[in-house]
């Protein structure tokens, strides 16, 4: 392509000054400049592909992985495996439903390492502050993290959650219905206090059953963290048809 253009160019300009057949070798500076230019073009293409990878391909891969793992969990539940007696934390402990954020459910697994979260799931914290699982029945904070962009982007629309919106956690035999009561739109990534059993920044001073969602903000960066707090409103038993609570109806 480049060669054709060059030849044409030479034919147009070359007729007056020199015979068109002569191919002038470019000087060392011209060669260095064109070599550098080609490197820049290549780098630009690679960076462009990286954006495509980050914002599209990782979602494809993550949604596939999350779908597979979610099917596994549902299958285990349907066949009576897992559950509170034999809590299998490897494949996920339940599903998060936040209608204000997304129409689809988010599988919840143990841990917040990239390896876990890159599968398009939400992870509950084991470090630096251990999350209290709602199934334990103890007061504490059920703290979760998920990606804002790429890798399933499960918490992409976290900013759509408003005070009073329901956050529902589904396990094998219980629906835990939380209600959003506080939002922290921007905090330092070192602010581990938001994960405390009693998250004081949310305004609560007494032990209770809390849920905390964390992700990065603003979108497409990870400069700060976005935090949403909810408090347990009620627990419903799952019936044989798995009828969802009225908030999800």
């Amino acid at each position: 392509m480049a060669a054709t253009t060059d030849t044409e160019h030479e034919e147009h300009t070359g007729t007056a000054s020199r015979p068109p057949a002569v191919r002038r070798r470019p000087g060392p500076i011209a060669r260095a400049v064109s070599f550098f230019g080609e490197l820049l073009i290549t780098a630009g293409l690679v960076l462009g592909l990286f954006v495509v990878y980050s914002l599209w391909w990782t979602n494809v891969v993550a949604d596939r992985a999350a779908g597979r793992q979610a099917d596994q969990v549902r299958d285990d539940w349907a066949h009576g495996r897992g559950g509170p007696g034999a809590l299998d934390t490897k494949n996920g402990i339940g599903f998060l439903h936040v209608p204000a954020m997304s129409g689809s459910e988010v599988l919840v697994e143990k841990g917040t390492s990239n390896k876990i979260l890159n599968d398009g799931v939400a992870g509950y914290y084991t470090d630096p502050v251990k999350a209290t699982l709602p199934m334990s029945g103890k007061p504490g904070n059920f703290s979760l993290a998920a990606h804002r962009d790429g890798h399933g982007a499960k918490f992409h629309n976290i900013d759509k959650i408003e005070k009073g919106d329901p956050i529902i956690f589904e396990t094998k035999d219980k629906w835990y219905v939380y209600k959003t009561y506080a939002i922290l739109p921007e905090t330092s990534k070192f602010n581990v206090k938001v994960l405390s059993n009693v998250p004081k920044e949310s305004g609560r001073k007494k032990p209770g059953h809390y849920i905390t969602l964390t992700t990065c903000t603003p979108v497409y960066t990870s400069t700060y963290r976005y935090v949403v707090w909810g408090e347990l409103e009620r627990v419903e038993k799952v019936d044989e048809n798995r009828t969802p609570p009225k908030e999800l109806g």
Binding site: A3, F35, E38, S54, W57, K189, N191, L195
Partner: protein
């Protein structure tokens, strides 16, 4: 001679590759396409997954570090 084989050529790296591909224009075009697909595959499968954690775009947790 320069640093790389195509450095001395007049049409750069991509021109050098094109001239060294066998066959007529159609064959060259098909091979080029296959090369592009192969490069994209290697980038998506190996290079980007390796590079991503090193870049500060996708940390979502709060921690002490």
């Amino acid at each position: 001679m320069g640093l790389v084989p195509w450095y001395d050529g007049r049409d750069g790296m991509y021109g050098w590759i094109w001239r060294h591909l066998p066959g007529n224009t159609w064959v060259k075009a098909v091979i080029s396409l296959a090369l592009v697909v192969a490069v994209v595959y290697v980038l998506f499968q190996y290079v980007f997954p390796w590079a991503e954690p090193l870049l500060p775009f996708n940390d979502v947790t709060v921690d002490n570090q």
